[in-house]
């Protein structure tokens, strides 16, 4: 495990050491993948965006001034490129529904408890996907990434108060959507 800080790695990269970039990718790839994947539930789409994020980082790193932390900058790129992809696609998907429907049609009998669990999982994913953009990105960064509000505020350039309000509304909407769906 490389002990160099992000800023040391960036400095080494700027001095011509490409391997420093590799370490940054290995350090953050999993976190970034999951941020993108929560925003874009399809793996292939998420994979495409993740690659684009790191290509962008590679091409921009020489000019990275370090005004913010690398991590803040990287998350901002990840959230922005993911939202671009969502806007590009526009069409709403019913991702998990297809899998579940196929499973039922195949005649496999699932235990009742598992069926209910699958249904709840589907509804929650659907609820998250239907959240307005701002609430969705705050929810993903806060709930799944467990980032402090102060960090999210730097990433999204929004006040902490605004983030808290968005997070509250996101959580509430998810519960309401799932409750309504289970009725």
């Amino acid at each position: 495990m490389d002990q160099r800080s992000d800023h040391e790695l960036i400095r080494d990269f700027k001095n011509g050491n490409d391997k420093a970039f590799n370490i940054l990718v290995l350090r953050y790839q999993e976190k970034i993948y999951w941020v993108v994947r929560r925003l874009l539930p399809d793996h292939d789409e998420a994979d495409d965006v993740v690659q684009d994020i790191f290509v962008k980082v590679y091409r921009s790193l020489n000019s990275f001034k370090g005004d913010s932390s690398f991590y803040t900058w990287l998350y901002r790129i990840a959230v922005n490129l993911s939202l671009n992809e969502i806007r590009r696609k526009k069409t709403r998907r019913t991702f998990a529904l297809d899998d579940t429907a196929a499973q039922y049609e195949s005649g496999d009998v699932l235990p009742l408890e598992q069926m209910e669990r699958d249904e709840r999982t589907r509804l929650i994913k659907e609820a998250i996907e239907r959240l307005p953009e701002k609430q969705k990105k705050v929810f993903v960064l806060r709930y799944y990434e467990e980032l402090p509000y102060e960090d999210i505020s730097k990433i999204l350039k929004t006040s902490v108060g605004g983030l808290k309000a968005n997070y509250f509304h996101a959580v509430k909407k998810i519960a309401e959507y799932v409750k309504h769906g289970l009725r």
Partner: protein, 218 residues
């Protein structure tokens, strides 16, 4: 504290991020307020549901293979940018860039003969300067700039469509000026620069900026 303020703090009450001193006043408010009690119940329900969701997994070996695939993509883009023929992005960018250059020139002349300051333009520059190297969304989310963005869509699209047709470009510029939309071409160039502060602009980048400008106006 009123309910709107309390609502922001309810989630913190449950995820442990609320400081002790606020916790007491929130709990006190909730105990006497039906609306906030119901909201807190919903939050509890949401967290319980979320905890119960089956965790997804990334495909096996995905993270082991990601780095080589990133380099493959970097090389592919580098190869495309180094092609001998004029890259498509350059061809597509030519018209808006030259249009912007002419606009800047004409803007200078306009200012020379109309030395009245343009508040929207300076306000736009002020906003953009607050976002050095910021992604376009960061700039676009500023409400003050959205009206300029919205008005930038049509002229920028016309400029994009007129690639390779200088007559059309100059006619377009004339129209932009006549319509008193001088700052739109400028806005496009500002947003291109804001979106890509550190790198070459590719054809996808131009498409993406135009797309974002369109989306912002919806």
């Amino acid at each position: 504290m009123d309910c709107d303020k309390i609502q922001e703090l309810l989630v913190g009450l449950r995820d442990g991020t609320l400081p002790q001193e606020e916790r007491q006043s929130v709990e006190q408010h909730v105990s006497t307020c039906v609306r906030c009690t119901n909201d807190l119940a919903l939050i509890d329900e949401a967290f319980e549901l979320l905890r119960d969701v089956d965790e997804e997994e990334a495909p096996t070996h995905y993270f082991t293979n990601l780095l080589p695939r990133i380099y493959e993509r970097i090389e592919k883009r580098r190869g495309r940018d180094l092609g001998f023929a004029a890259p498509v992005w350059l061809q597509r960018l030519l018209a808006p860039v030259s249009a912007c250059a002419v606009l800047v020139l004409m803007f200078g002349m306009y200012k020379l003969f109309n030395p009245v300051s343009d508040p929207s333009q300076s306000h736009l520059m002020e906003i953009v300067s607050e976002f050095p190297g910021e992604e376009i969304e960061g700039v676009a989310e500023s409400e003050s700039v959205s009206s300029v963005l919205a008005r930038a869509v049509e002229p920028s699209q016309r400029l994009m469509e007129s690639v390779g047709n200088p007559t059309m470009v100059s006619r377009d510029i004339e129209r932009v000026l006549v319509d008193d939309q001088l700052d739109h071409g400028h806005a496009l160039s500002i947003f291109l620069a804001a979106e890509h502060p550190f790198e070459d602009i590719t054809d996808e980048d131009v498409d993406s900026v135009i797309k974002k400008l369109n989306d912002t106006s919806l």
